[in-house]
């Protein structure tokens, strides 16, 4: 992994120097704030109604009615914004001609990939950290279940990392950033909606489609259930796309 830190620092510098990150983060956090505020306001209204009805009060739950829907919505926002954070990773190197430079430097392709991936994961972590102040407010107002909440956050991080890995692969495919973003967005959307097929397919293909569905695995996390199958799904997803990215980058060497 020679050269990892150097590339990592350079990547982070490039990310934070470009306005893309700030625009994405601003939009992401504004949307999060809006979702959070509206669902908390709705929860407050329902609580008011429930205070007159003890049976109903038993049914409402902060995790189910605020945290889970907000994080679900954030998943959608990530789906839209993750391609923007990954589109430049390789496409920009190729467009500006620094790819050849990278090839001649004493760093391995794997180290470059790891550094780039770690850099986009850092931005993802920063985006998610931006949502924590709201959750801290929740702590001061009520008594949320932090274990379940952290589980949901872990799920969101895993899902985001999967988005990033696919985004980096599509960025490695082309030298045009826009094309990379659209490609990864389309592919991600396909993984998102593949579960919808389940109502029209046979039982075996349903299981396959449901397994491939990227959102279905997040569902368990968001409920507060940590299941090894879901973790393994995301890890498999990430490893596969990182692997094919390396193969794709390597192919530039011998394709000339």
């Amino acid at each position: 992994m020679r050269g990892f830190w150097a590339v990592y620092r350079k990547e982070l510098y490039a990310l934070f120097a470009s306005p893309i990150f700030y625009v994405v983060a601003f939009i992401f956090l504004v949307l999060h704030g809006y979702f959070f505020y509206t669902s908390l306001a709705y929860y407050s209204m329902v609580s008011f109604q429930a205070s007159q009805n003890p049976f109903m009060a038993q049914q409402i739950n902060l995790m189910d009615m605020v945290v889970r829907p907000v994080l679900m919505d954030l998943g959608v926002v990530l789906l839209l914004t993750a391609p923007l954070l990954t589109m430049r990773t390789y496409a920009d190197e190729r467009r500006s001609g620094t790819m050849e430079l990278l090839f001649t430097l004493p760093v391995t392709d794997k180290a470059v990939l790891a550094a780039k991936f770690a850099a986009v994961l850092t931005t993802l972590a920063l985006l998610l950290a931006g949502t924590l102040p709201s959750m801290a407010i929740l702590e001061t107002l009520a008594d949320p279940n932090w274990k379940a909440m952290l589980c949901a956050y872990a799920g969101l991080f895993f899902m985001g990392a999967s988005f990033m890995s696919l985004g980096m692969f599509s960025s490695a495919l082309t030298r045009n950033q826009i094309v990379a973003a659209v490609l990864s967005f389309g592919a991600l959307l396909l993984f998102w909606v593949i579960g919808w097929l389940s109502s029209i397919m046979g039982p075996t293909s349903v299981r396959l489609a449901e397994y491939l569905s990227i959102i279905r695995h997040f569902d368990n996390f968001s409920k507060g259930v940590l299941d090894t199958r879901d973790v393994v799904y995301y890890l498999v997803f990430i490893s596969f796309f990182l692997f094919v990215t390396v193969r794709q980058i390597e192919s530039y060497r011998w394709r000339g």
Binding site: A17, L141, R255
Partner: protein, 485 residues
């Protein structure tokens, strides 16, 4: 392209494709292994996505494939809740499979499984099937338990006094009731106490359906012995035919009325005055969540006494509306001139179905002579043993009395909720001692009412504050970079 370059590309290309395929295969293998051996941690406060200890035991004991067909309208929120539940069960045992079926899209399947409502699960396997009406842990675990238990419960019908016969296919017969019970994995047998000295040990329920002639005192005593050893007795007694068990029932706090129930409301449904409609059910597991009307043709009142004997708990299972009354002057009734007489007739709501839960330990110790008197020393021994057994676990005997026997005959079995009530009743009685009860998980109420300043704080922090920090940092970076140029 030079030949050498071409062969180089072919070489690298094929090795890249090959390594990708191998890597993909490894990943698939990993995923498959992970699917086979899942582990999960449930961080919810109530453990909503884990099974209770009892359920886990039942589920773990299943060794053959079991299919659960869930009949839900597609996209219904209940369906996703049921899916969570079924997925939880599947996590504990891979032999369980489930599929969701929309009864509107596949009406032929719904008809095949006799699905009349959304939200019904059919559990199939081991050559049997169980229908689950509520998709919750208790119901599903019990269904799996019943399925995995090999022996069938036996329901006995008393014969010898002109009772309704389960072989009788005519209008007054009980053959519909029998086929419904057989479908629920029960065995049906007849019982003649004039030839047998005691109720067979395998009896889950004994039903005495509309005896025309009174039972002999010895028979009543045998039935009582059965009751006191934790047996389940059901009496369907038509007006004017008390089957000679009046005083026996009286002893357990159930009073048979010498009357016939007249219900004006019934005419609204197209029946006659003499077919009372029951829409009020007592709070008991048999009638839990039951909200359909049941109809009884020519019924007498059956009422619980106000002050039940020690060790007996009485529950009114079914009673008519306020508009009905129990007419005592039957001659007048037959002349067609029945009217409600304030001081003679019993005003509505008239109860016509009563359940008595008899604490056998308490009652048997109070009246030890009951069983010995009629059946000799052998029974006394059995009784003593039973009392010993019940020391460990208080066994309850159940006595259910309805003031009508034709509400489940072939004519009325399919009417409204009659069959459901009957099946619920037999089910409850037959399964009582083996039924697994699981407390529903109560989550603590978590209300949060925002005051206006709090709401403002949430708004300013999450919608404005945090995004503004990002804008400021971005602007700062922009300024620094400009100054560096």
């Amino acid at each position: 392209m030079p030949k050498i370059l071409k062969s180089r590309r072919l070489h690298y290309g094929s090795s890249a494709v090959f390594s990708t395929v191998v890597f993909f295969a490894i990943l698939v293998l990993v995923a498959l292994i992970a699917e086979r051996h899942p582990l999960r941690a449930d961080f919810t406060e109530t453990g909503a996505f884990s099974l209770s200890e009892q359920s886990r035991k039942v589920v773990a004991s299943i060794e053959e494939p079991i299919t659960i067909k869930a009949f839900f309208a597609s996209g219904a929120p209940e369906a996703s809740r049921a899916k969570d539940l079924l997925e939880t069960y599947r996590y504990y045992n891979k032999n369980l499979h489930y599929e969701f079926i929309d009864p509107d899209r596949e009406p032929q399947l719904a008809r095949q499984y006799e699905i009349r409502d959304y939200g019904v699960l059919v559990v199939e396997g081991l050559g049997r099937k169980e229908t689950v009406l509520r998709a919750d842990e208790e119901a599903l675990t019990n269904a799996l338990f019943k399925l995995s238990r090999q022996e069938d419960k036996t329901v006995y019908f008393l014969t010898g006094h002109g009772e309704r016969s389960f072989d009788d296919m005519t209008k007054a017969g009980y053959s519909s009731a029998r086929s419904a019970l057989v479908k629920e994995n029960m065995q049906i047998k007849s019982l003649n106490l004039m030839q047998q000295t005691e109720v067979p040990q395998d009896a889950a329920v004994v039903i005495v359906a509309g005896p025309q002639k009174p039972l002999f005192p010895e028979e009543v005593a045998t039935l009582e012995t059965y009751l006191l050893r934790g047996g389940k007795l059901v009496f369907f007694l038509d007006p004017e035919k008390d089957g000679g068990v009046r005083s026996f029932l009286q002893k357990y706090g159930i009073v048979l009325g010498d009357d016939m129930i007249i219900d004006k409301l019934s005419r609204v449904f197209g029946g006659s005055y003499l077919m009372p409609v029951v829409t009020q059910y007592g709070s008991h597991k048999i009638t839990q969540g039951f909200n359909v009307a049941t109809f009884y043709s020519e019924a007498r009142s059956v009422t619980p006494v106000d002050d039940p004997p020690d060790g007996v708990t009485l529950v009114t299972l079914a009673s008519t509306s306020e508009n009905a009354w129990a007419e005592t002057d039957l001659d007048r009734l037959y002349r067609g001139e029945a009217i409600f007489e304030q001081d003679k007739d019993k005003p509505g709501p008239v109860s016509l179905g009563v359940l008595a839960a008899v604490d056998t330990k308490k009652v048997a110790s109070e009246q030890p002579s009951v069983s010995q008197g009629s059946n000799g020393a052998q029974d006394a021994d059995a009784e003593a043993q039973d009392v010993e057994k019940t020391d460990a676990k208080p066994a309850l005997g159940y006595l259910v009395v309805f003031g009508d026997s034709d509400f489940v005959d072939n004519t009325h079995f399919g009417v409204s909720g009659n069959s459901d009530l009957f099946l619920n009743m037999v089910h409850f009685l037959a399964e009582e001692e083996t039924l697994i009860s699981i407390e529903p998980r109560m989550q603590k109420a978590q209300t949060l009412m925002l005051t206006a300043p709090q709401a403002r704080m949430v708004f300013w922090t999450s919608v404005v504050g945090v995004p503004m920090v990002v804008v400021l940092v971005g602007f700062g970076v922009y300024r620094v970079r400009r100054s560096q140029r």
